[in-house]
Amino acid sequence: MKSFYHGKKKFPFQLLLMLTLIFFGFEAIAQDRIVSGTVKDEAGAPLPGVNIKIKGTSTGTITNFDGQFKLAVDDPATSIIFSFMGFEPQEMVVGQNKSFNITLVESTELLSEIVVVGYGTQKKENLTGAIGVVTPDKDIGNQAVPNTESLLQGRIAGVQLTQSGGKPGAGATITIRGNGTLNDSSPLVLIDGVPGSMQDILPSDIESISVLKDAASASIYGTRAANGVILVTTKSGGTTDKVKVNYNGYAGLQKATVLPEFLDSWDYMMLKNEGNINAGRSPIYSDEEIAIAREGSDPYRYGNTDWADETFKDGAFFQNHQLSLSQKVGNTQYLASVGYLDQKGIMYGTSAERINYRLNLKSKLGKGFTFGANIFGAIKKSEESADTDDQGVMRLIANSSPLVPVFNQDGSWGSASGNPYEINTKNPVFYATEASRKFNDSNKTTLNPYLEFKPVKGLTLRTNLSYSFTKGLNKAHKYDFQLTGPDGNDSDIARVQNSLKETSNTYETMQWENTINYNKKLGKHSLNFLAGTTVNSYAHKTTNVNVFDLPSNSLTEIGSGSNPTVGGAFYESRLLSLFGRFQYNYDDRYLFEANLRQDGSSKFPQNNRFALFPALSVGWIFSNEAFLKDVEMLSFGKVRANWGQLGNDKIGYYPYSQTYSPTDGYPFDGASIAYGGLAVTNLANPDIMWETTTSYGVGVDLGFWEDKLTVTADYFVKDTDDILLKLPIPGATGVDTPAFQNAGRVKNTGWELAVNHFNQIGSTGIEYSIGFNLTKIKNEIISMQGETQYPNNRQVNMEGHPIGSFYGYKSIGIYRTEEDLEKYPYIDGQTPQLGDLIYENVNGDDVINDEDRTIIGNPNPEYMYGINMGLAYKGFDLKLFFQGVQNVDIYSSATGHHSGSANNLMNWTTDWLDRWTPENPDASMPRLGNVNNDQISSFWVEDASYLRLKNVELGYTFNESVCKKLRLQSLRVYANSTNPLTWSKLQHWDPERYANQSRNEAYPQTTTLTFGTNIIF
């Protein structure tokens, strides 16, 4: 990829550059001193069209066809910058020199016009597949992200990224062009060709990220590519003898974007009583107790605790430092970097730290050989509560009585109020911090040596080896404790037995890839051949030990516990692949590309072990046709079409092998333990196959007014067949768990539009850019062989509907009049009262029952979009980035919303102040006390569309003279905020959440404000 430019004429761009520079060139006339010289490449060939500019101005020129230039300067202190696409820019102080002989070094940095594709690079104009590109330095700035993948959110059309929440160290899910499987839909991430995770890399080490969205671009990755491929390219080593030190660091504070507003204790007591009375029970709280709570006269027995407020803090600290050194020493270039991220959680008791390191080495060995090695890794540590039963602390916040104090008067943890009914509030602050601790540690290292050989022009052979090793250790301590009430009596909140669970995981990935690439240009015909092989292996070993009754909660090692239970497993998979690509380009007008990959995988049964994935794509750059050459407005125009197939091999490790699994066992001979047996508990499918995605689409790329305005539009279909499904089997088979069958089909259809515009306003020096991307996706399950799956009691996978659709009764309002009670039938055997929810009688019989359930919402957004704006003026720069989704639903009951008919301490959100009572017949919420109002219904489905200012950054770059005084090359300071503003209909919860999070229990998203500086010297 580094050699892509070699000997190629890049006419449209040079033309563009020339036009620009001729335009600027007129300004040079006023200068009084002429310097001249020649610019050559490393091989000594003159470079025409090199951009030469006086630093800090727009004055400049370009070299002629012999690489020569002349430029007028007025001050010896002036620096001249030489830049040319595909080469490292060079800066020279004019001094007393009149003549310069400049040698530009081939750039290892990728300019936006060169796009990294599978096993190579390609000029953006010549792409025929759908590839989205992000270059973080240019596009993103210093967005404070807890995980590197979050940088992609909203940046690329068709790529949906959802953060799991603001928990330190938490990840995100990425869905490319819609969810195409009922199973794991995460894309393949390759870092310089090495399988990995985006968390393995520092944002500042990333040169570019290419997202391969369709089969035309991704089928070369075959059976791992069905969910899309993300190619991360890291920066190369330095290009000059001088060490370049780049420090970028920021620090700031975070808080929750939004926290639920729960009822004050006196309102809670009132509603609790109301619910109980309506449900035919006695009220719990006396009027005196309610009065005490309202007056606040007995805060330890009748307090008013806002658990959400108490469990989260405003201003959790966040810092991130990245330091890199790069240099060229002899024939060797290196880049060394280290990064440190420290994130305290907004929830008490949560935190994460991460260290990333990297060494990229590349050395020219002569005779066409290049040797390189990338060594990188990540060390991660995080801490959280180990109490994840009952869905963890998030659920406790809503399920705790506000009467209970955080601390009793004697300073001990609160867990009960003065009312005898409330002796079991699982104090969320206690559970978040001192009831248990979980420590997650992991350490990952990747070694990636490679050798490249270019025997003759146009031919590149490359062998690329990688090995990565991850060691993870989780320790979960659950302490024993007995909490007390306000009067010092034991409450119901206790853990009689402490425990410690240690889980260790190791992951090893080895990959060896060999490629041969040949470029040839014959007149107007450009040809490119690529062939390669991959050998890949992956191994995962897990062991766990759980011990109990440690003599003290302060002991941290498993040796001190007793009654151990242990577990362990080992999984391995291997891949053996062949792939090839043929590209043909006629006169930069007609483009054709064919890809083929054959994957042999250990996951497939022997008789069906090799999978073949073809892809074809074509393009027509119509703007290069003679008849359009004169249309000045249109600077670029291309249409493209593609078709191809991809596979998903996430089907388990040995799914074809009929194993006998250990069973609970049976005690013979009066034994006090059961001896385990072996039996078939899960059926295997000896004929199992990969899931196959057929994708096709058309696209158009347009540039107007010298590409100041660019438009890219795509229409796509992603049709996944043979999706693994567990189809029900007759009970007479005698096995509970059926085998996976290749039986389902899901189709995603959609379009994408990306528009970008940049310009500067006259001669004011104000530069601006504005762009947006918009995606519409329709997700539909085409076939499940007539079956229906229920991932949980609110969601359904059903033919003809999107994956994970919400399913239940359709609520059509509240019974407000006697006529309503007459008119609408109710749940079988139940009688509604005024204030209850009316459910639609879908099937038209005379009762409401299971058959009236229907699709009531879609957790997959129909539209998603991102808008970015940039503005630069005299050293100041401002970046704004908005991101949003439209037409997406969440289900919002149980947590903070419930009928109050059950015996528990669940609080309500303040919405419930407007519930139905005889005095408030126009209420928005139903009456309390009827458990049937808790039925899964559309009443609890809420529109979670949102638009948010995802990131805003204001920076100032100090001018050269300041830098010089400080002996710096460059100095920039900035302020950055993520998620400062959100527009959404949701009141109490952040609208951004995983599609399968069907309760209001996600760790809240955070908004951060950070200040940072970027220093280069």
Binding site: S573, L578, S661, G670, A732
Partner: protein, 512 residues
């Protein structure tokens, strides 16, 4: 050109394609299993384990007494109530659960029957394993044939496709059960090598039960005689002791399902939850009424006794102390009356006022029927869902009762019949049977004796089905709540709807 390269590289690739052959070393698979005696032992253990699920001998079979006239299930989600009142249908969950759990056991037995014969190991070990598998398969098919009548007869390890067959008739299923047991009797040792293992007499006793259930009295008599004459079994002298922790695997137990605690495989039929015995399980008053007095008479016929109905409302629910006082009655008389009954009543049921755990007088208002279960119930408060009591599938008293019943049906009252029956009576100090009874009278007495001796052991429902007495007993004799028993379909269960949905070759049972 490209094709050539692919072919060439493909050839190179195939040469190393064993690189892609990976072995799952986490557990054994079809190829690596079935090699050693240990392997066979593991398969046998898994087959025995299939007795233990909650829906079978872990609780469900015992709880079939709740759909008979002995018990009342208060927890509607368990779906016993639906069946007991005749509101069940093919979609009733319990029917599906019972079906699946029996077929799971059948598969585990079939695994052994398919694979053991070709194993290259000690022949005797193999024979015993095959004998055990045959016994278990017969036991599960007996459950199925009793509950569903006609079911698919699956006699080897099947794929889901192979399991999609039409049901066989009850006669064919019973024929297969008898064949399996006959072979098992040949293969099994006379004495189990380990406690809890199936031996020849367990197979004989089970075959006797199957013969009796299917009215083949002469064969049943023979099998019972062989068990009785073996001299290996006897009655435990203390009826209460028989169901205690110490009484497990006693000389009376012919085959018991073994349970241990602190594992998922513990049983659920003996637990006390929040200090209540089996919260879901209530005992019907009509069972309480049915116990004879000390004098061996029906309470209403015994001048020394007062029927419990005196202290109860029309549903058989005992009245409270206050209610009784208002009527001029004393709760103390009610309590005293229990001492005037067959002692098995007190051992079997828990009544209000009885000392229970830390309660000096058990508060019976926690039960809808005001009677709790006491047989098998652990008095220590342990893990409710993880009990360690063994469950007797076949015990010697049952064999004596089966013998008496079969012989009376076959040849009428005789000394052998009374001898067998009186052994059971004498253990609990009850009077001997009246030896002047006619065959029909004795039939009624034997049925009564089976009911009180084997109450709450999961046998009553099967007896009602085979005697065809359910309509009268359920509709007319259950006094606590109303039941409906439709003779045109309630003597067998419907095939589960999910099974019909998943097996197009399977037709529904008649009447459903």
């Amino acid at each position: 050109m490209k094709k050539a390269i692919i072919t060439l590289l493909g050839a190179a690739c195939f040469s190393c394609s064993n690189y892609l052959d990976l072995q799952d070393n986490n557990t054994l698979n079809q190829d690596s299993f079935w090699q050693t005696e240990d392997h066979l032992a593991l398969a046998v253990t898994a087959a025995y384990e299939s007795l233990t699920p909650e829906e079978l001998y872990g609780r469900g079979i015992r709880d079939l007494d709740c759909v008979s006239d002995n018990g009342y299930n208060e927890w509607t989600w368990m779906k016993y109530w639906d069946i007991s009142v005749g509101q069940h249908n093919p979609a009733t969950d319990r029917i599906n659960w019972v079906w699946n759990d029996n077929y799971r056991g059948i598969r585990r037995a079939n695994e052994i029957l398919d694979n053991a014969p070709t194993m290259d190991i000690n022949a005797e070990v193999k024979d015993v394993a095959i004998g055990e598998a045959l016994f278990l398969r017969a036991l599960f098919y007996n459950n199925l044939s009793m509950l569903f009548n006609n079911v698919p007869l699956i006699l080897k390890v099947v794929s889901p496709q192979e399991a999609r067959i039409e049901k066989s008739t009850k006669e064919e299923v019973v024929q297969q059960i008898i064949e399996d047991l006959t072979m098992a009797i040949d293969l099994l040792p006379t004495k189990s090598e380990q406690v809890g293992k199936i031996n020849k007499y367990a197979a004989l006793a089970l075959r006797a039960r199957v013969y009796l259930y299917n009215q083949q009295y002469e064969n049943a008599i023979k099998d019972c005689e062989e068990v009785i004459n073996s001299g290996k079994f006897g009655l435990v002298s203390d009826y209460d002791f028989l169901f205690s922790a110490e009484g497990q695997n006693s000389e009376e137990s012919i085959f018991s399902v073994q349970f241990v605690s602190n594992l998922k495989s513990g049983e659920r039929f003996s637990g006390t939850y929040k200090k209540q015995p089996q919260s879901h399980f209530g005992v019907l008053p009509n069972l309480v009424y049915d116990y004879y007095t000390k004098n061996g008479l029906k309470p209403e016929d015994d001048p020394d006794a007062t029927p419990f109905s005196v202290w109860s409302d029309e549903n058989g629910v005992p009245k409270s102390e206050k209610e009784l006082e208002a009527e001029g009655l004393s709760i103390y008389d009610y309590w005293a009356e229990f001492a005037n009954r067959d002692p098995r009543l007190d051992h079997t049921i828990l009544r209000g006022g009885e000392p229970w755990l830390d309660q000096a007088k058990w508060d019976n208002t926690v039960k809808a029927t005001r009677y709790g279960i006491q047989k098998y119930i652990r008095k220590e408060v342990g893990l409710y869902t993880d009990g360690d009591r063994n469950f007797m599938i076949l015990r010697y008293a049952d064999v004596l009762l089966m013998y008496a019943e079969a012989k009376n049906e076959f040849s009428g009252p005789s000394g052998d019949v009374f001898n067998a029956l009186n052994q059971i009576r004498r253990r609990v100090d009850m009077a001997d049977f009246d030896s002047s009874l006619s065959q029909d009278e004795l039939r009624e007495e034997i049925r009564h004796e089976r009911r009180v001796e084997l109450a709450l052991e999961g046998l009553r429902y099967f007896d009602e089905l085979r005697w065809k007495t359910a309509k009268n007993d359920f509709e007319n004799n259950v006094i606590f709540h109303d039941r409906t028993f439709n003779e045109s379909k309630h003597y067998w269960w419907p095939i589960p709807q999910t099974e019909i949905d998943r097996n197009p070759n399977l037709s529904q049972n008649s009447g459903w």
